[in-house]
Structure formats: C-alpha cells, structure tokens
Amino acid sequence: MNKIGLVIGREYFTRVKKKSFLVTTILVPLVIIGFYAAIIAITINGGSDKQSFAVIDEANLFNGSIETKNKSISFHFIQNSSEKDFVGKYKDSGYSAFLYIPPFNLEKPEQFVLHSQSTVSLTTTNSIERIINKAIEDKRLVAQGIDPKKYEAIAADVSLRNTIDTKEGGKQSMAGVAYAVSFACGILIYMMMIIYGTQVMRGVTEEKTNRIAEVIVSSVKPFELMMGKIIGIGAVGLTQFAIWIILMIMMQFALPLIFPDMLSQVNNAASNPESASMVTNIAQGLSSLPVTKIVLAFIFYFIGGYLTYASMFAAIGSVVSEDQNEAQQLVFPVLMPIILGFVIMMQAINEPNSNLAIFGSLFPLTSPIVMMGRITYEIPVWQMAVSMILLVGCFFLFTWLTGKIYRTGILMYGKKPGWKEMMKWAFRKS
C-alpha cells in the first residue's frame, strides 16, 4: 500500500507541476469569464443594432403609426407609393425591410408581406406578427361594438408559480435553474470521464512504449501501478476542478469590485421587470433545490464514474503500442456508452421519470451522467440505492477484469491483440 502511495504521488506531482496544467487551469476560467462578459456586453448593447422598417399600409390598419415597446425596431410609413414601386427602393432609402399591408377582409386577413434582402430573424417576424394581430383584433373588437380599452381591462394575464412542498415548507421552484444545475453536473462528469480517462490511457501507453513498465513491475504489482495511476490522475482532475470552482467564486466577488457600474448597467438595460429580477430568481431557484443531496450524489457519481471508466481506458492503453490509430479503434466502444449516457441525460432533464431515464440512471455505464439529469427531481430511494450499488459493483468487476488485461498487455509488444484475445486474458484464472 505504501508503494501505491508512491505511484499516486508521482502521477499527481509530475502532472500538477507541468506548465500545461497551470495554463489550462488558468485559461479555462478566463475563457468562461470572457464568454460571460460577451453575453453581458450583448445584453447591454442589444439596443444599438437598430432596425428600421418601411410600411405601406394600404388598408390603413395602423392609422399612420405603430407603437412598440421594442426600442430596436422603428417603423416609418411611406405615403403615395405602391408595393411594386417601393420594392426596388427601400434598401437605398435605408430601410432593412419593408412591410406591405394590402387592403384585406377583416374576417379573413391575409396577403401581408415582409420584403427584405436577407432572412428576417424569427423574433422580429414574431414581434411584427404580434403587432399586426393586435391591430386586427382591435379592429374586430370595434366591429363587434366593444371598446378595445375596456377589453384590455377585462383580459387576464396570469403567471403560474410552481411551489414544491417539502417538510421544511414550500419552496419556489425554478425550472431553468434546476435544468442548468443538472446540465452542469452532467457535463462535468462527462468531461472528467473523457479528458482524464484518455489521460490514463495515454499514461499507460507511454509507460509501455518507454519500457519503464518492466522496471516498475519488478518492484510493484501491476495492479498497484494501474490503480496508482488512476487515482493519481483522478486527483489531478479533482484539483483542477476545485481550482476552477474557487477561481469562479472569487471572480463573482471580484467582478463587481473591478467594474462597479456593470451590474447596475445590466439591470438598467433589462428594462422589463422579468430580467430585472433574474438574479433574485436564480437565488430562489437554487435554494429550492435539494443542495446537499445534489452535492453528495455529484461527488459519488463523479468519482465512481471516473474510476469505472479509467480502468477500461488503462486496459486499452496497455494493449496498444505507439500507433495512435490502434487506440482510436479500441476507444470507440468505450466512448459509446459515455456519449449514450450524455444523450439520455439530455432527455432525462426534461422527462426525469421516463423509462429510458430510469434505465439510464440504473445502468452502471451510463448512470453517472444520466443520474445528474434526474438529480434535481425527487428520485425514489430504491432507484438511488440500486444505481449506486450497481456502479460500485461494476467498478470492482471492471477493475478486476481490466487489471488482468493490463497485467498481460503492458509487457506484450508487437501485434495488437483483438477483443477475443483480451477477453481470454481477462477471464484467465491466475
């Protein structure tokens, strides 16, 4: 056991001391922060990209003016011109698009056209459609003898609040936050498996092709060498994630200090009340989640998933030689369930209790990722227990089998063994 510690120490420190570790550890949060900054910048400057539309209103639907809350769109009415004449001119007159409203039948409104040089975005089309619908509705109300102002007073606009009842009392749910938490946890586990799994594989192949494996296994058991490598690299991954999380928390506090007026700007820019209370909504949404359960489950599946796959990656690394193409072929069947797990997770976030989601969160090769998709919802205790037991069992089984493949593979040179050959090694007695 003392020797496993030495192996872990070597795997850990040689990687952590590398310059590339420092670079990725610092660059990744910077990229993420840059991404945030870009989003904020877009939110703030969203209004700068003004679009002006020309309108020929032959039906006189709008009475010469359109009121809109959206400040990035403006409408200009063109008098004494026909659709045919103006189609060739609107661009030169500085309009990005041209809305033509022909005389129409109030019972059956149709033939409205929006001319443009390139496809108009869906949001813009939708908001113009809404404006036209509203105008037509008003006209119809008047035709029925109803005052549109009175109708507006009558119309109801209810927003539904979802409250989750727990023993501690009602909490407000926020589907978006739950979704984001699930997604982030799933992505992290997915990344851990693939990035650090392939690192284990490369490390093993390196030891094999450098022929150092032979020197080492004359002093340590091959299994200790394999586990030492897996644990050491796993610890590197945990360190990296921990640094990222700490950096991000620090940034959250530091940003308002560095740019004091940024937040207020964001709030000003978001003129409608929905996004103004976004921050409070997120906080509320987070507090509605079973945080302890999520954190514990995340750590369990994070480590369990990594360990289960790392041993497979180690076995693959032990059977290939320098040729990276060989590795590619063997890695594919191992990557399949990981990717499958990710796909099922995306579905499980929306349908946490579908049969597929339940199966995916129990099946040990996909459960670490899929379970994250369901984690913000109530999961029956038996499902959680079965999933965890299966994962642990799978880890032991796989490590035992792959350990045998590893032990044989690491000292074999020359031809790459096939799956059949590897299975033979795995199930051999001694």
Partner: protein
C-alpha cells in the same frame, strides 16, 4: 551458498514453450552469464526471476527460501534489455522514485543516489530531464537505478549496448566491484567476448531448454577439439603422419588436430625427431562463440542469431 536456485521451471505460452523445464543454481558472488539465441526464453526466464511472471510449474528459491516477488523485490535489481525511463521526469526525482519503489526510505535513497552520481560523474544531471540525455547517458542512469538499493541479485540484460568503450569499461569495473562486495550478477547477452571477459559461470539455453551449464573453464575443456598451435622457424612443406591432421598451414605456424589416442607429447616427439626447432606449442581452446554456434546451429532459431 546459492543465492538463486531454479527447480524444473516451466512457462508455456499459447504458441510456444518459452521455458521448458530449466533447473540451475547460482552461487553468491558469481557473475553468471545467461546465453542463448534470440527467442530462446532468456527474457521469460529473467522475468520469472524478477517476479514479473509466475512459472507454470517448478520452484524458485531465493537465498534458500521460496521466492516471493514482493518481499524479495528489495533484494533484486533488474535492468531490462529494452531500457525504460520516464522521458519527462527530472533525473534526480526519477532515481529517487525508483529507489523508493524498491523499498528504500527517502534518506537512504538520497544517500545512495548521491554516492553513485558522484562515482559515475553524474552530479550535474540532477535537474535535467531524461529526454535531454544521449542514449549512452541514459544507459548509465539506468544502470545506476538498477543497483541503487544494493540488491543481492543484479540482473543485467545487455548492459553495454549503446555505451562507448570508456563508459563500458566504467560499468564493467562497477560490475566487478559489486561482485567483489558480495552481489551476484546475472548477465544476459549475445556478445560472447564480453561473456569470456566478465563471467565465471555460464548457462546456455535454446528453445526453452538448458543445453549447457558450467564454469567458463569447464565448458571450454568439454568442447575442446584437441587443436594445438605449433610455432617453428622452418616447417617442411609436406608432413606425412597419422598422429595429427593439419588444420591450417602458415609459414612458421601450424594449426593441428590430434588424432584419437595421441597426446601432445607424441606431436612434440615427432617434430623433434624431424629436427625442427620449436619455439612455441600450446593448446587452442574453442571460443565461447564457437561453442555457442556449434550447439545452436542446425536448430531453427540458429538463423535468427547474429554472430558478433
């Protein structure tokens, strides 16, 4: 006392009998040559002695006790034929790591590393990476990491390949020193002139079987052809005799092979009676190289072996 004793060791792989019933004993302080053509089973045998493989049957005794790979790892140093070191690891750290894997404490390991680095003039390497070293330099480093923990049994698979004569001599002297201080050395190689120079006991394996075992002197005696070399000032062109046959006839030098039942004295008598003035006469023992080729030739593996 025997450091290592192999009793009827067998190791079969799917396609071949890599080691097929080999027994041998190696006494303490010996420099033991393990010879054989490529694919004879040497590496498999060595891997069983280092505990990397388990024999299918048979027993290995180390220091008189049943060999246990984990406990005895500390007493064995193994330098495989294909050298291996971590390329991107500092040399000092690497030596320390390998020594500690053998069971040395940090301070013991440091002392030993310093001693060896000074001895082989490697002090300045400590903070270099292995990838910065030339092939010969990394060979030296590999040798040092093999003997750092003062093992009782040192196994060297082709230790001189890639070393220049100066460094090869340096390592050779260290090997003699280690043997003098009580370490036993197993030396596996194809290079027969090195074996003659260094080893005092040899075993030849071919196709998984032991075909020769003995001290270098014994082996040479056993395989000698009764060939003698005679030097004389003037030698007659034609020598008619039934007591020897001529192997080679050069001016002033004669290589002759005794016939069955004759002795070297008969030869001398013959020449003296002829009135020829002899100034040298000695037996020519076969070189290990000749013996090796003679024993291995004709088997299917012989072609794979390169005569050095």
């Amino acid at each position: 006392m025997n450091v290592l004793e192999l009793q009827n060791i067998k190791k079969y792989f799917a396609t071949q009998k890599a080691v097929d019933d080999i027994s041998m004993t190696i006494g303490q302080g010996n420099i033991f040559g393990l010879l054989g053509p490529n694919g004879a089973g040497k590496t498999t045998l060595l891997r069983m002695i280092t505990g990397i493989f388990y024999p299918d049957s048979g027993q290995i005794l180390f220091d008189g006790k049943k060999f246990n790979a984990l406990d005895d790892a500390r007493n064995i140093g193994y330098m495989p034929e294909e050298r291996g070191l971590y390329k991107k690891m500092k040399i000092g750290e690497q030596a320390l790591y390998l020594a500690r894997l053998k069971g040395l404490s940090r301070s013991e390991a440091m002392d030993s590393i310093k001693k060896w680095f000074v001895k082989l003039e490697m002090e300045s390497w400590w903070n270099k990476n292995v990838e910065d070293l030339s092939k010969g330099m990394s060979q030296k480093l590999q040798f040092v990491t093999t003997v750092l923990h003062k093992p009782k049994l040192i196994i060297l698979d082709e230790p001189f390949s890639g070393l220049d004569p100066v460094n090869a001599n340096l390592i050779k002297d260290e090997i003699f020193n280690l043997a003098k201080n009580g370490s036993t050395i197993i030396f596996s190689t194809h290079r027969m002139e090195q074996v003659e120079e260094i080893c005092n006991h040899i075993v030849l394996v071919n196709k998984g079987k032991k075909i020769l075992d003995g001290t270098v002197h014994e082996v040479k005696q056993r395989y000698k052809d009764n060939v003698y070399q005679l030097g004389a000032t003037v030698l007659p062109e034609h020598l008619m005799t039934h007591i020897f046959e001529i192997v080679k006839h050069e001016p002033g030098r004669l290589l002759l092979k005794l016939q069955e039942g004759t002795t070297s004295n008969d030869v001398l008598k013959y020449f003296i009676n002829q009135g020829i003035v002899i100034h040298s006469f000695h037996e020519v023992l076969p070189s290990l190289n000749d013996i090796f080729i003679k024993l291995v030739e004709g088997t299917s593996n012989a072609r794979a072996f390169q005569n050095v």
